[in-house]
Symmetry: C2
């Protein structure tokens, strides 16, 4: 029961053969994996993450009523039904709907992880459910931070640290210095997550986009009790 | 006067165009960049870092009296005069000598940085001299952690954090989350560096190699007052 942390997709090649048949948790706190959990929490029938904008557009043309969501460089894609703010995916707008989502970093990290036995998805909002689901499988886990365009970022690293700490509390073992660093940072940040993150690059990007309220939503703990699993091309909530 | 941190060579491609004409500090605490400083401190006439074992061997065959040092996977290379332990490079053995050194991670990081205006080299043992030299140039700096086979490691990250903190104290500005994370980790570790590092992967590797005393040498602060610069293929101590 070992924990590894992949601090950005740029580091993924070092782990590509290790993740085969193991568990991966894809982390894109601001905002892809947070939004994915919100969609399912609010009753979306189907959520399909895809890597490309063109792929999302093509799926929409082929299926009446399909809603497409996503951003590039943090902004909603032209012609899409939604951007990537978790606050857009209200019960009113997504219940009973089929959605497709594509984002700069999060959906790409899922694509890289396809050889894993389990691809978990989520964030602070479903952390306890994720930790329990990962423990249920019991096998080695790779905490995969989506980062920002290949760069390591603070919020994904902190969440990896939070999950690592929760697993260590349940008897799991730290497998690398990246996990150790993430956990130490989480130990420092957890008392005042907003304060600790105030200077982070992505948070500053958010402030310049006037999306501060998204930040609050993305940092709330355990507002959802569903773990989310990527299976056969779609996201599945457990329990459904 | 901005600070960036490259947490491993695997992340270098993201920074390759940014470092052109800027300052890079190459960090391989255990043990390449520490050993390089010790060689110059103890009077080596010339120290040439090279990327390959074959290149080092060829240089030795071409120049009588040249001494070659280096490791692969942490162990001394067969046929070399020295391994990579800073304790081998005593005044008695290196004063007035010309040396070549090749290591798993450190010399590769130097090779990647050739487009920089200044390639600084060092560790805890010459930290203050490095910080002053970097401030003397005054331009943007990239703290480049050599890591371990592409992976992020704790000791290089902590030293990057220590340098970042020293520069911030002199009015420099943090440029990315990697620097922010490194600095936060350093803040946590600096009171008990040995204790904080006790669990780190590389330190465990050292213990299994019975090289714990190297660790003490590599974590000592400011035993050298020389900054080290890579220039025209060789390392130069400043002041010489």
């Amino acid at each position: 029961m070992k924990i590894h942390t992949i601090l950005s997709p740029q580091l993924f090649p070092l782990f590509a053969s290790d993740v085969v048949g193991k568990q991966v948790l894809v982390i894109d706190i601001l905002r892809a994996t947070t939004s994915m959990v919100v969609m399912l929490e609010n009753g979306a029938t189907s959520v399909r993450p895809v890597a490309g904008v063109d792929e999302a557009m093509a799926l929409k043309q082929g299926q009446a009523g399909l809603l497409i969501a996503g951003e590039r460089n943090g902004y909603k894609v032209e012609g899409f039904d939604f951007g990537n703010s978790p606050q857009e995916f209200t019960k009113e707008r997504v219940e009973g709907e089929s959605l497709v989502i594509t984002t700069t970093n999060g959906t790409q990290a899922i694509s890289l992880s396809l050889a894993a036995s389990h691809i978990w998805v989520g964030g602070f909002l479903n952390m306890t459910a994720l930790v329990e689901a990962i423990c249920g499988v019991g096998d080695e886990v790779f905490l995969f931070c989506a980062g920002w365009k290949g760069h390591v970022n603070m919020e994904d690293t902190l969440f990896a640290g939070a999950v690592a700490q929760a697993l260590v509390n349940k008897g799991w073992v730290i497998g690398d210095d990246a996990s150790r660093a993430a956990m130490a940072l989480w130990g420092q940040a957890q008392g005042d997550l907003h304060g600790f993150l105030a200077e982070a690059s992505h948070v500053q990007r958010f402030q310049s986009m006037h999306a501060e309220s998204d930040l609050d939503v993305c940092l709330q703990m355990n507002t959802s009790s569903k773990a989310v699993l990527y299976e056969n091309g779609v996201l599945v909530a457990i329990p459904s």
